[in-house]
Every structure is written in structure tokens, then in C-alpha cells.
Amino acid sequence: MSGGVDSSTVAALLARQGRSVIGLTMQLWNQRRLPELVPEGGATGRCCSLDDVYDARRVAEQIGIPYYVVNFEEQFEERVVAPFVEEYLAGRTPIPCTLCNNYIKFDRFLEMADAVGAHHIATGHYARVRQRDGRYQLLRAVDPSKDQTYFLFGLTQQQLARTLFPLGEMTKTEVRALARSFDLAVAAKSDSQEICFVPNGDYAGFLSAWLRERGERVPSAAGPIVNSAGRTLGAHAGVHHFTVGQRRGLGIAAGEPLYVIRTDPESQQVVVGGQHELLRSQLAATEVNWISIASPSQPVRAQVKIRNKHAAAAAWIEASAEGRVEVNFDEPQRAITPGQAAVFYQEDLVLGGGWIE
């Protein structure tokens, strides 16, 4: 129970259905940390704030269920935040939400469910699970604008077997209406941001502050901005400020709009180019998890999403080595970004996914 409308509605819904429900809030991040990142007047969209815990506790009280705050800050730091920083420094664009799902929300949290004797965990994620052909399968949510399966491709059969996603069949509008019908005070609360522990989306500022807190120097990653022919066009303050496809913040006046094509932490180069240079037809993905089907021995036809807001594009997926696949798109795709996930779909079914190299 994050204190938001989605998980609150799930709790209320299950309690109304007469299930025996225990409310848990995961304390993942200490809001007193890195105060320098919080602008005057407060930051927006932060997780685990005292206000959110207050809201969750209120909902639990209102629907009459036991409620506890459990502290997973240490695991979150180790499994989500530290890798997040590492990935950025390595020139990739990480997705902490997927790591959080894999290692915290559907792992540590499931252990806590075991500890309190709960058979299932229920969350406010927009996704669906069904049983078919002796497996648990993950399916897209009915509401395409809210579908969160892109972040859930790493779940295992055991995790899916014990997970309830009651909101997968509903639209956000229906969820809010349901919350209002339950008279939940959070019914009109605004949606949270994606990277909950980074205030105001300033991840470069977060990186510096987090490293300073650990007594580590922020790597001086200043370097040149070059074009694909190797000509220097300008300078930048660090490759971790840039992500593939980014247009703003380059500080270069050029005839045609310039985009970041790739970053190279080794040479500290940011390579820029025109829109057309962002197009690629192929990607390699590692740590592939086939979530809904057995690991295929033949090439698979699928629609592949390369970032959360990407419209999945038709491709062939072929295993190249253990846990690795090559994805060949029918049409070139814009800004394939290392560190993001490639998630494979067949219509609503989530076949699996992996991390883009």
C-alpha cells in the first residue's frame, strides 16, 4: 500500500470481497537523506513520504484491516539504487522500477507475506495473470495507457503464482470511480512519478549527491560532443547527463536538429547526429526471462517494446546464447537505448524480455 489510489483501491476491493487482507507499506527510501536535492517548497512524486504512509494507514483504518510499515531500505539501496547509479555511470539508461519489482516488490515483499502467513500478495499494478498450458502467463492490462507489464517481465512462475493484480481488468477511470464509491480519501490523489527516489526527475543531481554521501568523488566525465564523423562540436559535463535520443541540453547550434546517438564512458564522448542516425533495426538483449512460455528453440515472431512508451514493433527474436537473444525489427526503430528493457509481446501476452546491451 503506497498510499496512492491504485493500491488503496486494491486493498479496499479485496477486503470488500471478504478476503482476509493485511496492509503493508514498504519503506524503501529515507526521505531525510540527501536533503540538498529537495528544492524549497518540496519535491514532487517522491516515494515513501510521511504523507504517503499517513494516507495508506488511513485507508487501512477505514477498511478495517491490520496495517504495518515494513522497512526494506537496505535491500532497496543494494538491489535498486546502487545498480541505478552504476548503470548511469556506465553510460546506460537504467530502469530501477524493474529491479525493484524483481528484487523487492515480488521477492522481499513475498517473503514478508510468507512471514505473516499470507497466501498471496496483491498490488496496484496494471497487468493481468492467467493460468494456461500449465503455466502462469502475464498479460497486458486492459487499459493500454496504464499497462505496466514492461516493468514486470522479470517475474518468475513462483512469483506470478502468488500475485494478484486486481486492477489489470480495469481502466484508471474505473479505478478512481471505484475508489470514490469506497469513499477513499485518496480517490483524487495524483499519480506518482516513475523514478520515485529521484526528486523532480533530476537524476544527474541525484547521482552526484548519492556519491558524495558515500564519500566518493563524482567521476569527472566531462568530454567532447562529437558527430559520427568524429568532428568535435562542443563540450559536455559528463556522459551521465545524456541518454540516447535526447535533443535538449546539448548547447550546440546546428542547421538540423541534433540528437544523442550514443554515449561512450570510456572515451567520455557524446556522439550526436541527425534524426536518421538514431534508427537501428537490431538489438541484443541479455538476462532474458521467458515469463509466459518455455524458452523457445526456434526464432519467435513478436512485437517488441524498447521503452515503456514505445509502441511495440514487429520483430523476429532469436536466441544467440544462454540467456541472450537478438532482436531483428521489420522496420528500423528510433533510439534503442542500452540499459532499457526489450519486452516481447504476442498481442496481449508477455512472452518475456531482457536488458538491451
Binding site: 519503506q27 510521511l50 531500505e73 517473503e111 512471514a115 505473516v116
Partner: protein, 385 residues
């Protein structure tokens, strides 16, 4: 489900006699104790009667008892007040405390540090007790105050307060003892203990929350923290919380009577420890070999996440705690257990049980049984994790 309370170090239920005293005061003796008229005088009388009741419990003069809004305020008042008194007079800019104090002392010391006062935190051994020799070594000519708790809130371990007082008296340094967890669980005689300041809290003594007291030995120079009226002999301004204070007084009187019940409480604690140690392998009592208040035991259950055990027990109807109550549910391993040399995983696997006057032998048996089942369950699932 029936809920049974084993968390009396967090707070206690208000005793029926105390409740009666508070309610009668709320309804009838509503005057402002500073007012000249009949109503004010009636309130003042009850206020001073309560002061005498509490003074009698700790063998102090009534004039040495200052009522506050709780233990945290009393601790802050002693530490910040003393540092403020000492500095301009003699340039004393050093405070000695211990690593195992309550946050009300440790955080106040951290604030003093930010204000330029040096702070020494004495270590404790595995037994949870400071070595008075360490105190001798730590004393400096500029030491303004020594602050050592009487009994620890997490383990119940008692510090050698008399011996510490002898050392500080020799050195001419004022001595504050945080007595919040000792009052009502031990005979407290501030004269015999030799303390200059002694913090107390009403809600640990079957009285309401929001009331505390600080004993300030007659003759000790002291600067107040708050400014306003002339209440509490200029040491703590603000209209007195007369109903709460009256409750504190009633509780103090009860405490001197209920001292006879303490041996039974100790026997229940013994029963609980024995049952756990006999029936659950991989357990032990933290601070077992040291003198402890009779109601507290802190037990580790190897391989268990203490937070999970607290929740599992709560769902079975038993209220216990991982240590000091924390509103946000944050858990860094207990600073007390860590200071006693427990590795983090054992500190995290430790649970505090604190008994009260109303706990029964049957409740202790039921708790031991619930513990046995819950610990077995948690150990079973952590094999899969």
C-alpha cells in the same frame, strides 16, 4: 481476537486509580494553578500534592521536582540546559554520555555537538554496562555534564549509577541520569544514588502520556530552555498540565505500593526466558548476566527477521517490540545491541518483551507458545528464501 500487551517499556495502560484522579481533576479542578482565586488555589493544591507524591517516591524534596511534558523534554532540559549554564560561566564545553542512551539523550547530544560542544560516548561491554574506569578517563577539566541512563529501555540492563555519581562528585561535574525506564521498576532514591538530575516519564508508570518530570538537586545551577511565566520556580514556564500531573502523582503513590509485585513480575520474566530458551533452539537473552529491571527481557532468535516476528506475533494477538518504538517503522539495527557487540544480523533478530503489572502467568505461557510456533514458521520459510 484477544490482544495481550507485552510492550510496557513503550508505554503502560493508565491504572484505574490514576484514571479516577485525572478525570476528577479534568471535571472539577479546572482552575489555572497560577490564579489567585478559589479555582486556582484548588488546582495549585492538587499540583503540589502530586509533586509531594512523586518526590516521596524518589526520596527528594518536593521543591526539587520540576514537571515537564515528558521524558524527552526532561532529558533535553538537563542536557541543553546544563550545557547552556556551564559554558558562559566556566567555558565548559564537553559532555560525556554513553553509546546506549535513548534518542532523547543521544539526539540532544548531537545537537550540542552542532553547537560546538565536544561529546564523548562511553562504550559498553557485551554485558551492556559501562566501565566506570572509562568514565574516569573521559573526564576533562571542561566537562560540563555526565549523562548516563539508569536502566536501558531495550535490554533493561541497569548502570552502576551510584558508582558513577561518586566519580562525578569527586570531579565536581554534574550528573544526569535518565530514569525513565527505572522508575517504578526499581527502588529509586535520588539521594542514595547521588544524582544531580533525574529524568522521569509518567506514561511508563501507568499514568497518562504528555507528562514528565526532572529532578534537579537543590543547589545545582541550571538554565531553563523555555521562557515565559514563573511556573515551576522559573525552571519550566507554561500553564501546568494539572490533570496529567495529578495522574503522575497518583501513579507515584501506587508505585510505592506495587513494589511488592515486582518479584512476581521478575518470576514471570524468568518463566518466559526459560520457556524460550528450553523450547526454541538458537535463542539467547541479550544482557542476561547483568543486573536488570524485573520486567524487561531482550531475546535473540537466530535467523529471524525481528520486524517480521513482531508482525507475526501481533497478528496472533501479542504486542511486543523490536526495541524502541519508531513511528515510521525504520530499522537500522538497534544501536544498543550493536554497542553491546551483537553482529547486525543478531541485533535484527532480537525482540524486546516488557511485562507490566497486569500480565498473568497464563499470558506468559500463551506468548511462549505463540513464539515457538511463529519462530518455527519463520525459520521454515527463510529456508526457501
Amino acid at each position: 481476537m484477544r490482544h495481550v500487551y507485552f510492550d510496557h517499556n513503550a508505554t503502560t495502560p493508565v491504572a484505574p486509580q490514576v484514571l479516577e484522579a485525572v478525570v476528577s481533576c479534568l471535571g472539577q479542578t479546572y482552575g489555572n494553578a497560577s490564579s489567585i482565586h478559589y479555582f486556582g488555589q484548588a488546582a495549585k493544591q492538587r499540583l503540589e500534592a502530586a509533586r509531594r507524591q512523586l518526590a516521596a517516591l524518589i526520596h527528594a524534596n518536593a521543591t526539587e521536582v520540576v514537571f515537564t511534558a515528558g521524558g524527552t523534554e526532561s532529558d533535553n532540559m538537563a542536557l541543553l540546559g546544563m550545557a547552556r549554564t556551564a559554558r558562559p560561566v566556566s567555558g565548559r564545553r564537553h559532555v560525556i554520555t554513553t553509546a546506549i542512551e535513548h534518542p532523547a539523550v543521544l539526539a540532544a547530544c548531537a545537537q550540542l555537538e552542532r553547537e560546538g560542544v565536544a561529546v564523548t560516548r562511553l562504550p559498553v561491554g557485551a554485558a551492556g554496562v559501562i566501565d566506570p574506569g572509562d568514565l574516569r578517563t573521559a573526564l576533562r577539566p571542561e566537562t560540563a555534564l555526565v549523562s548516563v541512563m539508569h536502566a536501558n529501555n531495550e535490554t533493561g540492563v541497569i548502570q552502576p549509577v551510584e558508582e558513577i555519581a561518586r566519580i562525578t562528585r569527586e570531579a565536581g561535574v554534574p550528573f544526569h541520569a535518565d530514569g525513565v525506564q527505572a522508575l517504578g521498576k526499581l527502588p529509586v532514591d535520588v539521594k542514595a544514588l547521588g544524582v544531580d538530575f533525574y529524568s522521569m516519564s509518567a506514561h511508563k508508570l501507568y499514568a497518562p502520556k504528555g507528562v514528565g518530570a526532572l529532578y534537579i538537586r537543590k543547589g545545582v545551577r541550571f538554565s531553563p530552555l523555555l521562557f515565559g511565566g514563573h511556573h515551576e520556580r522559573d525552571r519550566r514556564p507554561g500553564t501546568e498540565n494539572v490533570p496529567g500531573i495529578v495522574g503522575f502523582g497518583a501513579a507515584a503513590e501506587l508505585a510505592s505500593q506495587s513494589a511488592d509485585d515486582l518479584p512476581q513480575m521478575a518470576s514471570f520474566r524468568q518463566k518466559l526466558e526459560q520457556a524460550v530458551l528450553d523450547r526454541i533452539p538458537g535463542t539467547g537473552v541479550n544482557g542476561a548476566g547483568s543486573p536488570r529491571v524485573p520486567n524487561t527481557t531482550n531475546i535473540y532468535f537466530n535467523g529471524i527477521d525481528g520486524e517480521a516476528l513482531v508482525i507475526a506475533l501481533d497478528l496472533r494477538g501479542f504486542a511486543v517490540s523490536t526495541g524502541s518504538a519508531c513511528s515510521s517503522g525504520a530499522v537500522t539495527p538497534s544501536h544498543v545491541l550493536t554497542a553491546m557487540g551483537l553482529p547486525p544480523e543478531r541485533a535484527r533478530a532480537s525482540i524486546r518483551f516488557s511485562l507490566g503489572l497486569s500480565n498473568t502467568a497464563e499470558q506468559v505461557d500463551a506468548l511462549a507458545e505463540a513464539l515457538e510456533e511463529s519462530v518455527a514458521h519463520l525459520r521454515r520459510i527463510s529456508v526457501h528464501a
